[in-house]
């Protein structure tokens, strides 16, 4: 198969059924089809158990799909060549504790066929990028969760990958740690502007700030895949207008600018005094889950 220049991840009708023993089965992913275009930052959203991690593990070749097919950068999954395009950050990165951060990067660099000065320079650059130069020679055993996460991001960037796959990169971090990683992902996107970043999360704020597109999974199925701005446009902006008339103050909620203009004209004609206007921007959470209690895992 020839590499596809336009699509970095292509998932065609993929299902994954787990055998849970005693003849019981559990569906992880159900007939999922998804095309991730090159150069985008795509967020894979969904509640726990929606199939985000299963999808990512199938892309990485850790899990075998029960049905369907996948390609990464035009190459069938699982294969060594498909993985050569990927930089991967697992949900809970863990490293051999007896090695230092730098030795680990040397080891992983070696596995990517990076050698000598090129590898040494890349490691120095990445240690600066993830702000770990000061702890480079310390054993990973002493690293905090945030430091481990940053080291894991550094190892994912070693070969300047075309596709970055991050599985819950902010999972288990405190707010400051989350902010750090978010900033780091934005820096990574600046450093590798051509690369596609595909990451799963259930923290909508992170996805809204980082992603150009979102894919929403529910019970192993794709519910939505679109650009974040399109999703936010779906619901018009809301306004609260406070007006004063006959010594009483009234607050009116309006949807969309047209409704606002009409109301303001009416208020002017009636001689009302406009005390204030506040606008409410639709958040990604509101746009995605306006009719659903998806985050709680309750049925649609």
């Amino acid at each position: 198969m020839k590499p596809n220049e336009q699509t970095d991840i292509s998932i065609q009708n993929v299902s994954k059924i787990f055998r849970t023993g005693f003849g019981l089965k559990k569906t992880g992913v159900n007939g999922l089809s998804l095309e991730v275009p090159r150069g985008q930052v795509v967020g894979l959203l969904g509640p726990n158990g929606s199939g985000k991690s299963t999808t990512i593990k199938m892309i990485m070749g850790f899990l075998k799909p029960t049905a369907g097919s996948m390609t990464v950068c035009g190459h069938a999954v699982p294969s060594k060549i498909s993985r050569s395009f990927i930089g991967y950050l697992p949900e809970n990165p863990r490293f051999p504790k007896f090695l230092s951060g730098k030795s680990l990067l040397q080891f992983y660099g070696g596995l990517l066929s990076l050698r000598g000065k090129a590898l040494a320079h890349r490691i120095e650059f990445l240690l600066d990028l993830v702000n770990l130069r000061w702890a480079a020679n310390e054993k990973v055993q002493g690293y905090s969760k945030g430091m481990t996460q940053r080291l894991a991001i550094a190892q994912a960037l070693l070969n300047e990958p075309r596709l970055l796959i991050f599985d819950e990169p902010m999972s288990g971090l405190d707010p400051l740690g989350r902010k750090d990683i978010r900033k780091l992902i934005a820096e990574v996107h600046r450093e590798l502007p051509e690369a596609t970043i595909f990451f799963s999360s259930h923290i909508l704020e992170d996805v809204e700030q980082l992603c150009s597109s979102v894919a929403l999974l529910k019970k192993g199925r794709l519910k939505t895949f679109c650009k974040v701005e399109e999703l936010l446009k779906v619901e018009a902006q809301r306004f609260d207008v406070a007006v004063k008339h006959d010594s009483t103050t009234e607050t009116k909620s309006l949807t969309g600018t047209q409704e606002l203009v009409t109301f303001l004209n009416e208020a002017k004609n009636k001689g009302y005094l406009v005390m204030g206007i506040s606008s409410h921007r639709t958040s990604l959470e509101e746009a995605l889950f306006k009719d659903e209690t998806v985050l709680s895992g309750a049925p649609l």
Binding site: P90, F98, A152
Partner: protein, 254 residues
């Protein structure tokens, strides 16, 4: 190919940081000291019994090393999720297994070499005559047994849990070591279909045992050692190939 040696290198470092490695090392030292004491307790053939015990100690250490280190290495990778970082790189699962295996047998070779030297020193200190060629051949056979045993352990460990793998591997060793002797005492068993099946699947571990010969200062023909070496490599390759195939097919939950 370089990645294979890199994984082997990291495995060597990993094993050197393992508590169980030092426990086994302590066990082997204890076995050597006990061998000397047990030899002293006997009336006759003191030196022969001491040598026999010394070599049995090395063999037992090597066996325990193959089983417990092999299982620890693989199961910890899978349980702690280290494997996700390695397999996310362009490395095949079979390469990963072979790298681990290579690292492990490198350490096993070093341990056998160390114990061999220690045996010579101990024998000299206690003025026990040793046939060096026979000792060397015996240590080579012990190492070959370690290779084959490790390959069997890897086959079970990629398919089963830690305890079941250990039991199955030790069961294979027991079958391969003692069944032949049992059959010899009962000729009718030799034609039994169950025995034929066991012979086809279970390697013959009696081939690696020349402790008695060493204690009598007797060595074996070099070409026989070559045959055992070839037998080990073929059987190990078969078990590793099966392990690789099973490992490539299984889901990895990290």
């Amino acid at each position: 190919m370089k990645s294979l040696f890199q994984i082997a290198g990291i495995t060597v470092k990993e094993l050197l940081h393992e508590k169980i490695f030092y426990l086994l090392a302590a066990f082997s030292l204890l076995a050597i000291i006990l061998s000397l004491l047990l030899g002293d307790l006997t009336y006759a053939e003191q030196s022969k019994i001491t040598i026999d015990f010394l070599l049995a100690g090395i063999e037992l250490t090597n066996l325990l090393f193959s089983v417990f280190m092999g299982i620890t290495l693989l199961h910890r990778e899978l349980n702690l999720g280290w494997i996700a970082m390695v397999l996310s790189k362009p490395i095949s699962r079979t390469h990963f297994l072979l790298g681990k295996f290579l690292g492990q047998i490198t350490i096993q070779a070093s341990v056998i070499l160390f114990l061999g030297v220690l045996t010579i020193v101990m024998c000299r200190m206690n003025e026990i005559h040793l046939a060096y060629q026979a000792l060397f051949q015996s240590l080579v056979l012990t190492f070959l047994q370690g290779i084959l045993m490790s390959a069997i352990v890897y086959f079970f460990a990629v398919n089963m849990g830690a305890l079941v793998s250990a039991a199955a591997s030790l069961g294979m060793f027991a079958l391969g070591s003692f069944t032949e002797g049992a059959v010899k005492t009962n000729a009718a068993l030799d034609t039994h279909p169950a025995w034929k099946m066991v012979k086809a699947v279970v390697p013959n571990f009696r081939l690696f045992n020349m402790k008695t010969l060493v204690s009598y200062g007797l060595s074996i023909e070099w070409h026989l050692l070559g045959i055992v070496c070839a037998y080990t490599l073929i059987c190990s390759a078969m078990y590793l190939l099966l392990a690789g195939l099973c490992f490539s097919k299984r889901d990895i939950f990290t």
